[in-house]
């Protein structure tokens, strides 16, 4: 790390601190801080601007108006910054800082605090942002550059006693006050805060009509109306109900709120794999339990109709002429008679809810309610819709059974299977699968896909039962038809589609299951060979996964499928149309036909094919994603035991490794340097893992010659393969057994050998005291201590990590003082320190501190100091007696603590204080 970088960072951090101090001085120096804010607003420093927005607490408390002016100016894009061509317009909507306020929540940003302390300013900020985003949304809808079509939004007009009020937006805009919406995080957070604040105000006794009136006064967006209706649904107070009544006169509001209700009803997913936002997510989960999440506008109607006179009369007045003047959401809709007619029918259905006679009083000892009963003519109309829904529901039930059955290893419940197969057979039609099944969700497609899924699950998990019950032939026929059906153009284009109901996917699963169970006749085998050439990789993957259990039954089929897949994967340059990707020319089409004929003939005549050489010319392709899907299904352990198979697999491995190396090196030899994004990362990761697994079944000498030596020969030019090899060795050798079983000795030897070879590379030692590792080294270095992408990759409870103590010692000697590597080491220790003797952990930390050229810098970067103290603190809590009994370890422990405390790590001073409490000796 150069002195310049240190100085620059130190000065930048210093300036950040001073700015923070200034902002926190808003109470003591309001005028000076206000002046500072206007300087920042006029200046160019985005760091300073960002800091003002993030350090909002003192500003909200002491300079609310100045802060709101600043926030509006900074968060709303200027007119020159618009650009409606990118995907980002979907979420940004003219509001800057798309990634701030993530995940959106009422507790994010200044909104709730501002509303609680200075409500006028809070409302000004929320309206400013929401109105701006809504106006942007209107402009975007009118501009066909965004989605390829345009439409002209019409206002949602609310008839208030004071006069009409126009709001803008559709059902998606209406939902912006929900954290799952697609909108700027700042706007969502602001609206969520508004809803919470309104609930608090009502709970504190504020009048709902006055509150809702004030909140809506300056709004131009249906999003704010959404929050107001939600609050009314929550409180159900008369004042709130009266306040939202003018809005409910408009059927569009019903439609938008029912849409909101449907989204709420589906549940609001909270995704946080790394647990980074636990506190916020706890808040969100609590919010999702609010009563208004389970209510919508129609639930309010009986309260109006059967409420006191004031409510009833107000409702009668408001709903008189409901929907007569049909409001449309977009101008263009008026030209679409069908859409208008559907919308009018929907409004009629809404209108039916306004008739008192449609309600039946239900009374129990605890509550009284009103149940809505639909008009007969509407009920008939609805019953047809319901029948469709019922069918769809049934099909989804069948497909879920199939998916669950295929996932589980246990045999399915016979009674349920009987019922499911009978239902599926009822749905099956003779001409199914003759035409291409379209990929869009559509009832007939779903029906055929479900039939194939049930047939596959039955063939795979209940074939014996199906034979007894006479369903086996039906399963076979359905699966064959599905396997041979033509692909729709859309499906063929989408090679990486992942869809568990795909009929060919299920055909591959079902037909391979038939072969594995000895029912693979010529037609089935032929169909399976055909599926090798299916455009969707998920089908090929399912095919080879299914064949894994079939090699013992029908190795000719399996070898031919493998041969065809690999031969097809090697695409010569002269068989494609130049510049058109994988578009075959005449020669290409002839080649594929020849490959197919050859392998089909092999199959018929019981011949094993010769696996192709993996030789790809300069202009050609190697379809590594296809090859990978074929290789992943090979039962390597069984195959390698057979000399003939072994003789075929080793040259294949050599060829694939040769291609992998040359492909990864391409660019370092060419003039054009290879970009990281061009390297076949997915293939590298898969193939090195596959090699690691293959190596496990080879003799040590074979493993050395076919796996380790060729990979090692690429270092240090190609370190990315080292990281993938380590990952593969971990998954397929070192940690492949259940946790109670230690790794096999050979696996340990291989791991240690690879690590020692890497650690012996002179280039690595040069990174010893640097702040970071080169991108080439980073993954390999951290993988040696079981850390990848900042996470410990093994299970924390895996107890065998002390077996690697020796290699960790060496690792620390070579690279332990590198700041980034040390950070990974601390990650490893956090997960594993309980498996090591405390003296060893302390010894390691002490060794790094003593060897580091600048231990203060090491501890300062990546928060390493505090993280070191956390490891020491955990050790102290868990092993106090053991540590104090070992004089040498205790001396190192206390010295580390001292040094960390002297470097400004507060937790270390807490440990120090604990140590003072020991007796004087």
């Amino acid at each position: 790390m150069s002195g310049f970088t240190t100085d620059y960072q130190a000065r930048r951090d210093h300036a950040d601190r001073l700015r923070k101090v200034i902002l926190h001085s808003a109470d003591a120096l309001p005028d000076r801080v206000a002046e500072y804010l206007s300087e920042v607003a006029e200046g160019r420093s985005w760091r300073a601007k960002e800091q003002v927005l993030k350090t909002f607490v003192p500003l909200v408390d002491h300079l609310p108006a100045v802060f709101v002016d600043f926030a509006l100016c900074e968060l709303i894009e200027g007119p020159g910054e618009e650009g409606w061509a990118s995907y980002h317009d979907m979420t940004e909507l003219g509001i800057r800082g798309a990634m701030d306020y993530h995940p959106p929540a009422h507790v994010q940003g200044p909104f709730l605090r501002l509303l609680r302390t200075h409500e006028d300013e809070g409302l000004r900020l929320i309206h400013g942002l929401t109105n701006a985003a809504t106006a942007y949304w209107c402009g975007r809808e009118r501009d066909e550059r965004f989605l390829g079509y345009s439409r002209t939004p019409l206002p949602v007009v609310l008839q208030f006693p004071s006069g009409p009020k126009e709001l803008w937006g559709n059902e998606e805009v209406y939902c912006w006050f929900r954290h799952t919406s697609v909108a700027p995080n700042a706007v969502i957070s602001a609206l969520m805060a508004l809803e919470v604040w309104m609930e608090e105000q009502l709970a504190a006794g504020r009048q709902g009509d006055e509150l809702i009136g004030k909140v809506l006064a300056d709004s131009q967006s249906v999003a704010v109306l959404g929050a107001c209706v939600a609050v009314a649904l929550d409180s159900l107070s008369k004042a709130c109900l009266l306040a939202v009544l003018p809005a409910l006169r408009n059927p569009l509001v019903w439609s938008m709120d029912i849409h909101r209700f449907a989204k709420d009803f589906q549940g609001s997913p909270i995704i946080d794999f790394l647990g980074e936002n636990k506190l916020i997510n706890q808040h969100l989960k609590e919010r999702n339990q609010r009563p208004q999440r389970r209510r919508e506008v129609r639930h309010l109607i009986p309260i109006y109709l059967f409420g006191d006179d004031e409510l009833r009369l107000a409702a009668e007045r408001a709903f008189a002429g409901f929907g007569d003047d049909l409001p449309l959401p977009f101008e263009e809709m008026a030209m679409n008679e069908e859409a208008v007619s559907e919308w009018r029918a929907q409004v009629e259905r809404y209108k039916d809810h306004l008739r008192r006679e449609r309600y039946r009083r239900i009374e129990t000892s605890e509550w009284v309610g009103w149940q809505y009963q639909q008009a007969e003519e509407l009920a008939e109309e609805t019953s047809q819709e319901l029948a469709d829904y019922q069918l769809l529901n049934d099909l989804l039930g069948l497909s879920q059974w199939a998916a669950k059955t295929l996932k589980e290893d246990t045999p399915p419940d016979v009674a349920v299977m009987e019922q499911v197969v009978r239902s599926a057979r009822v749905q099956h039609r003779p001409d199914d699968f003759r035409e291409a099944i379209i990929s869009d969700p559509e009832m007939d497609s779903t029906r055929q896909q479900t039939v194939a899924a049930v047939a596959a699950a039955t063939a795979a998990r209940g074939l014996a039962w199906a034979r007894q019950q006479g369903h086996a032939d039906w399963c076979r026929a359905v699966l064959l038809a599905a396997a041979c059906s033509p692909r729709s153009r859309g499906d063929a284009l989408n090679r990486r589609s992942v869809f568990h109901l795909d009929h060919k996917l299920n055909a591959a699963i079902g037909l391979t299951a038939l072969v594995a169970q000895g029912s693979g006749d010529a037609e089935v085998r032929h169909a399976l060979l055909g599926l090798v050439l299916d455009r969707q990789l998920q089908v090929v993957q399912a095919l080879f996964t299914g064949l894994r259990k079939a090699w013992g039954r029908d190795e000719i089929l399996c070898w031919n499928c493998l041969g065809l897949a690999l031969s097809f994967a090697v695409v010569p340059g002269n068989t494609i149309v130049p510049g058109m990707g994988l578009a075959f020319n005449e020669a290409g089409i002839a080649r594929v036909e020849a490959l197919w004929q050859g392998h089909a003939a092999n199959l018929e005549e019981g011949r094993r094919p010769i696996l192709p050489l993996i030789e790809v010319d300069d202009r050609g392709f190697f379809l590594w994603d296809l090859a990978g899907r074929a290789l992943q299904g090979l039962p390597l352990e069984d195959l390698v035991r057979q000399p003939e198979a072994r003789a075929a697999l080793l040259p294949l491995a050599d060829g694939l490794l040769g291609w992998t190396i040359s492909e990864n090196l391409r660019g370092s030899d060419d003039d054009r340097p290879r970009r990281h994004s061009e390297a076949p990362w997915e293939w590298n990761h898969f193939f090195l893992g596959w090699l690691a697994e293959l190596g496990r079944h080879l003799t040590p000498a074979e493993a050395e010659s076919h796996v380790l030596a060729p990979v090692r020969a690429t270092w240090p030019r190609l370190l990315r393969l080292a990281a993938d090899l380590l990952d593969g060795l971990l998954r397929h050798q070192v940690a492949r057994l259940p946790p109670q079983e230690p790794p096999e000795p050979q696996a340990l030897r291989t791991w240690e050998q690879v690590c020692r070879d890497l650690l012996g590379q002179p280039e690595l030692a040069r990174w010893a005291d640097e702040d970071y590792l080169s991108s080439d080294w980073s993954a390999a270095v951290t993988m040696m201590i079981f850390v990848n992408h900042g996470m410990y990759v093994l299970k924390e409870e895996w107890p065998h990590v002390p077996l690697f103590g020796g290699i960790i010692d060496r690792w620390l000697e070579v690279v332990g003082t590198n700041h980034e590597a040390y950070r990974a080491f601390l990650t490893m220790l956090k997960a594993t320190s309980r498996h090591f003797p405390p003296s060893r952990v302390v010894g390691w930390l002490s060794l790094v501190a003593s060897r580091s050229e600048d231990v203060k810098a090491l501890w300062q970067s990546h928060n390493n100091g505090e993280r070191t103290a956390r490891v020491l603190h955990a050790l102290w809590q868990a092993s106090r007696q053991e540590l104090t009994a070992d004089r040498s370890a205790f001396r190192q422990f206390s010295e580390l603590t001292d040094r960390l405390a002297a470097s400004g790590v507060t937790l270390a001073s807490v440990i120090q204080h604990d140590l003072e409490g020991l007796n004087a000796g």
């Binding site: 101090v21 109470d27 206390s894 405390a901 507060t906």
Partner: protein, 318 residues
């Protein structure tokens, strides 16, 4: 007494308050009311233990120094009475300075402050070769506060900072000594209610040599002169997997110990122009914590805000 601001920290400690009400400590006329822990300790040593220089008092003092020496290596803070003058022991026991375990000839100190004050007397005797003595004792953690008191005492009693600086250098130069001893001597002034005055006394040493002592002192201020904020612990315990993790998270936002921070900041504000860039950087960290964790109406907020504005303009001009 409570009207004297500088006495407040002393008066907040019930044990010290109890001592101060002892008629033997507050002399007639009370011209020099003890105001710091060192001063209270001195008076306690001379008047309560030493009985104003009487022979009996000297014997009691000798017994306590020996007790302190034995304490250093005593398991569970208990030491035997072999060889200690029985009369002194009985008398110290009757004064609740020492407590005898029932039915055993084993003693402990009546309060941990009395331990520290007795250890201080022992260390004072070995001040000339303190590093070697600490080494000889095995650098026990239990002596840490006594060493801090010694640092404080040297600065409080001395006309200049000479003796304090000398001790600081001595522990710094001792290669085999753990870093905590240097830090203890350096941060000794934080124990004094005359902190600002002591910093004035040590001004030259603090600013010398690129202000390295000052920088280390400020690091220690934000590291050791802080407490865990219980509100923060409550907030983070909901998201932390383990209590120690909650503690570590909460310590990222600690509460400054009011007196030491306020006095140090006041001194820093007075000397802000004399600080080099590195010292400014460290001071800014202290200012940041203060401004964030104190509230409207608290002292120095205005001055700190003004200084930050001035420094930021300077930094931007550069």
């Amino acid at each position: 007494l409570s009207s004297q601001g500088r006495l407040r920290p002393v008066l907040k400690n019930p044990f010290l308050l109890d001592l101060l009400t002892d008629r033997r400590i507050v002399a007639e006329g009370a011209a020099a009311v003890p105001a710091t822990e060192v001063e209270v300790g001195d008076v306690w040593w001379e008047k309560v233990v030493g009985r104003d220089g009487q022979a009996e008092g000297r014997e009691r003092q000798q017994a306590l120094v020996e007790a302190a020496r034995r304490l250093i290596n005593a398991p569970r803070r208990r030491f035997g009475d072999g060889g200690l003058p029985p009369a002194a022991l009985v008398s110290l026991e009757s004064n609740r300075v020492l407590i005898r375990d029932q039915g055993q000839n084993v003693y402990r100190f009546g309060h941990d402050l009395l331990e520290d004050w007795s250890l201080l007397r022992l260390l004072e005797q070995r001040r000339g070769d303190l590093p070697a003595y600490l080494q000889e004792l095995g650098q026990p953690h239990g002596l840490l506060r006594a060493v801090r008191l010694l640092g404080c005492l040297l600065l409080e009693r001395g006309g200049t900072d000479g003796e304090w600086v000398e001790l600081l250098w001595a522990v710094e130069r001792a290669a085999d000594l753990a870093p905590r001893w240097r830090q203890a001597v350096l941060t000794g002034p934080f124990l004094s209610t005359r902190l600002e005055e002591l910093l004035d006394k040590a001004r030259e040493a603090l600013l010398a040599d690129d202000a390295r002592f000052l920088i280390d002192l400020l690091v220690a201020l934000r590291t050791t002169e802080v407490d865990v904020d219980p509100r923060m612990v409550e907030v983070v315990s909901g998201i932390a997997d383990k209590p120690e993790e909650a503690m570590a998270l909460a310590l990222r936002y600690p509460l400054p110990r009011w007196y030491a921070w306020c006095k140090t900041l006041r001194w820093l504000l007075r000397h802000a122009r004399e600080l080099n860039e590195a010292a400014r950087h460290e001071m800014a960290r202290v200012m940041e914590v203060w401004q964030e964790r104190s509230g409207p109406g608290d002292p120095l907020r205005r001055e700190i805000g003004e200084l930050a504005l001035a420094w930021l303009h300077e930094a931007e001009d550069d």
